[in-house]
């Protein structure tokens, strides 16, 4: 790394210090590369797990699988460890791997611009400028809160905050709390808030499918056993992975599999919500799997408690402390929690990336995100996106996909060291998108009759999802192959 004037010269800039960014940094460092920096706008690492610290936050993938394969951890406290433990795991990784010298916290990227003459990226940040040969964008897909455009929301009389910006100074005990949204965050927040709130109003635009979570703590003996028996953690992880892979059958609407999953969810609802009219409100009107299937054992009991009122409608507008739903009902509230998800199909950071032709990545993606191998975009040489377009799963661990992309990118970075520039052809990117469109046909994500974060509402395409097994993504793209960047479908199979 060198500093020319006020511009720091570096081989690789990694943007973001969540699972993807830290994983990339660890693998770079372990492969002997020290000529990189990790830029992170926040004041700490952890990405999603730094931002989301709401009551009850946790992951719906078992922790032994939702962690790096190259940093197995025998000490997870539970099958689904709390979010704070996941954040600590990432913090520990920074310490153990010696990443601190490469981290630039509190550094927000303002722009990234390809300099065709220098064949380098110019990266402007809030703390200085960088010039680098390669950029690895690990901005995360759950990093930009989506806030409803309800008139008057900004002038709500009480505290109002997004679930990913939880204000712990706000007391909800005894208060009238509104929770907007019924997705993955709301399902975790509501049971916690409902414990001591005076009342809770849940604004539910569409009901989620919820299946049993069946979480449990690992005993000290189990944890010690996992750490002492060689290969035990790896075997557990492998079993979890291959079990979860079976979930694709339901997402591909295979009869029997989708029927069993639906029956499990509706059976869970019937068992936990005796009231028929409430059950009707909580019964989804679309096929299971179309939206993310949620895991909870305490959501339905909380919703069915006398503290909670379900309003089967989205937020319409706010007047003072009166919150009006789309069904016209009005609710007097003291605190409003927006569990309304994230800008996942239109990442705001894409507006700050300017490629070879002077177009922003957001402009390139104005009809929906796409990237060859879910990683590389035509017109944006030497830039790689991890955990961005078409890399998310509805049935297995995001970390497995992230690791696959990291290995692909490490190969690409080595390639760039010898060739100078790597840019995927338009043909390769288009063929890849077309192939994914075809692979997504007939899946519940396309045919399930819902709107979801998997689908881009501009075109109905699955621009976030890899619509197949996680293992096929690893097989096809876990090893970098420059031939695929030219197109002609050589690696699509």
């Amino acid at each position: 790394m060198s500093t020319a004037g006020t511009v720091t010269q570096v081989e690789t800039v990694v943007v973001g210090a969540g699972f993807a960014g830290l994983g990339t940094a660890i693998r770079l460092l372990r492969s002997g590369r020290t000529d990189f920096v990790v830029l992170e706008r926040g004041d700490g690492v952890g990405g999603t797990w730094r931002d989301n610290h709401y009551p009850g936050v946790g992951c719906d993938v078992p922790s032994h699988l939702y962690s790096y394969s190259f940093r197995p951890r025998a000490e997870w406290s539970a099958v689904f460890a709390p979010g704070e433990e996941i954040r600590e795991y990432l913090t520990e990784a920074v310490e153990d791997e010696g990443l601190a010298p490469y981290l630039r916290l509190g550094t927000e990227v303002l722009s990234m611009r390809w300099d065709a003459d220098a064949q380098r990226w110019s990266v402007e940040t809030t703390t200085g400028a960088y010039s680098c040969r390669t950029v690895v964008v690990c901005g995360g897909r759950l990093s930009e809160p989506r806030v409803p455009a309800a008139p008057g929301l900004g002038s709500f009389d009480g505290p109002v905050f997004h679930s990913a910006r939880w204000d712990h100074s706000v007391e909800t005990a005894g208060k009238r709390v509104g929770i907007v949204g019924s997705g993955a965050s709301a399902v975790q927040i509501l049971p916690q808030v409902a414990r001591d709130a005076g009342s809770v109003v849940l604004f539910q635009r569409s009901a989620p499918y919820v299946v049993p979570r069946e979480n449990r703590q690992y005993s000290p003996a189990e944890r010690r056993g996992l750490s002492r028996v060689p290969g035990a953690v790896e075997r557990l992880r492998s079993r979890m992975f291959w079990d979860m892979e079976q979930g694709l059958a339901a997402r591909r609407a295979v009869p029997g599999f989708v029927d069993r999953l639906r029956a499990t969810a509706l059976g869970h609802l019937a068992q936990q919500v005796p009231d028929e009219s409430l059950r009707a409100v909580l019964t989804p009107g679309y096929e299971i799997g179309c939206k993310r299937v949620l895991l909870s054992d305490d959501y339905y009991p909380a919703v069915a408690s006398s503290t909670v009122t379900v309003v089967p409608a989205a937020l319409r507008e706010v007047h003072g402390s009166t919150v009006v739903a789309e069904d016209g009902s009005e609710h007097e509230l003291d605190v409003l929690v927006l569990a309304t998800g994230f800008e996942s199909t239109r990442p705001p950071w894409a507006e700050r990336v300017v490629g070879r032709d002077g177009r922003t990545l957001a402009e390139h993606w104005d009809a929906g995100m796409s990237a060859y191998a879910s990683t590389s975009v035509h017109g944006f040489p030497n830039l790689f996106v991890i955990n961005g377009p078409q890399a998310s799963l509805g049935h297995n661990s995001a970390v497995f996909m992230i690791e696959t992309q990291i290995e692909h990118v490490l190969g690409a970075l080595e390639h760039v060291r010898s060739t100078g520039v790597l840019e995927v052809s338009r043909t390769a990117e288009e063929e890849y998108s077309a192939w994914l469109d075809e692979a997504g046909e007939g899946t519940v994500w396309r045919t399930g009759g819902c709107t979801s974060w998997y689908r881009d509402d501009r075109n109905g395409r699955l621009t976030l999802l890899w619509p197949d097994f996680a293992f096929t993504f690893r097989e096809r793209f876990g090893t970098f192959d420059p031939a695929g960047y030219a197109g002609a479908g050589s690696v699509l199979g």
Binding site: L65, S69, E234, R235, R237, S238, R239, F241, W242, D243, E245, Q246, L248, A249, R252, V254, G256, F257, F400, A439, D468, F469, A470, F471, T472, R474, E475, G478, G493
Partner: protein, 257 residues
């Protein structure tokens, strides 16, 4: 030159004879190309081992006929005669598919899941016990089968039956006691998949199987004998890789997690 025809994968079930063995693998394999699952669970599929072998062979004949007709028939398109078939046999089905593959050059690949060529004392004992349970306490057969055919790490709870107590299942258990295929020769590439915790098929039997073929790949899974019940997705990944020609001879493995 005509482009290579995609292989048709023919799936042959185990002791149950039921296509349900492939409830996951069949529709998922169908993502990549044609798949057929043979039903050996009824008397229409034969009441001797040789008849069941013949039933599978006839299934391949039917597939060839269908594809020939689909291609336009004689005189309309040059027929290169090749309708590549990859046979997949699980447990008892591995015996059937091995016998078919040895005699049928249309079989261009063979996958054996928890297979063997001839029983040893341990396997004969296990088959005898299962036969005795089926005879005396049929209600217990599936529970006993679970203990014997699944590894101790397999999830407990409701699952489709592994071993129904019907007459034909009993016959297949009995045939497996006596069938000996150690003399066969299979020219096609073979993939042998076995469970590390297989309580039925010993490592010695698996080694004999692997040692018999000239062109063989070998994968070991963290599972018991009933690989399709315990690790169906991992089996699928190996079968797909084999069918696509992505597995070189020797030890192979699914994606490392």
């Amino acid at each position: 030159m005509a482009s290579p025809r995609p292989s048709t994968v023919v799936l042959v079930p185990g002791f149950s004879g039921s296509p349900d063995d492939y409830a996951f693998v069949h529709p998922m394999l169908a993502r990549r190309g044609p798949v057929v699952t043979v039903d050996l669970s009824t008397e229409a599929a034969g009441v001797t081992f040789d008849a069941q072998v013949e039933h599978v062979r006839r299934t391949i004949d039917d597939l060839a006929d269908q594809r020939h007709q689909h291609d336009g028939g004689i005189g309309e398109q040059e027929d290169d005669g090749a309708h590549p078939i990859v046979l997949v046999g699980s447990s008892f089905g591995a015996l059937v598919t091995t016998a078919v593959a040895a005699a049928d050059p249309r079989v261009t690949g063979l996958v054996l899941l928890g297979g063997w060529l001839a029983p040893d004392d341990r396997l004969r004992d296990a088959l005898d016990h299962l036969l005795a349970v089926r005879e005396r306490t049929p209600d217990l057969l599936d529970a006993v089968a679970r203990l014997l055919l699944l590894s101790p790490s397999a999830p407990s709870g409701a699952a489709p039956p592994l071993l129904p107590a019907d007459e034909l299942t009993g016959r297949r258990l009995a045939w497996a006691r006596s069938v000996d295929l150690r003399h066969v020769h299979v020219a096609a590439p073979v993939l042998v998949v076995t469970g590390r915790a297989d309580a039925l098929v010993s490592p010695g039997l698996t080694q004999e199987l692997v040692g018999t073929f000239d062109d063989v790949r070998y994968a070991e899974l963290d599972a018991g004998h009933a690989l399709l019940a315990e690790r169906p997705a991992e089996v699928l990944s190996l079968v797909e890789a084999f069918v696509d020609g992505r597995l070189a001879p020797g030890p192979v493995q699914a994606a490392q997690v």
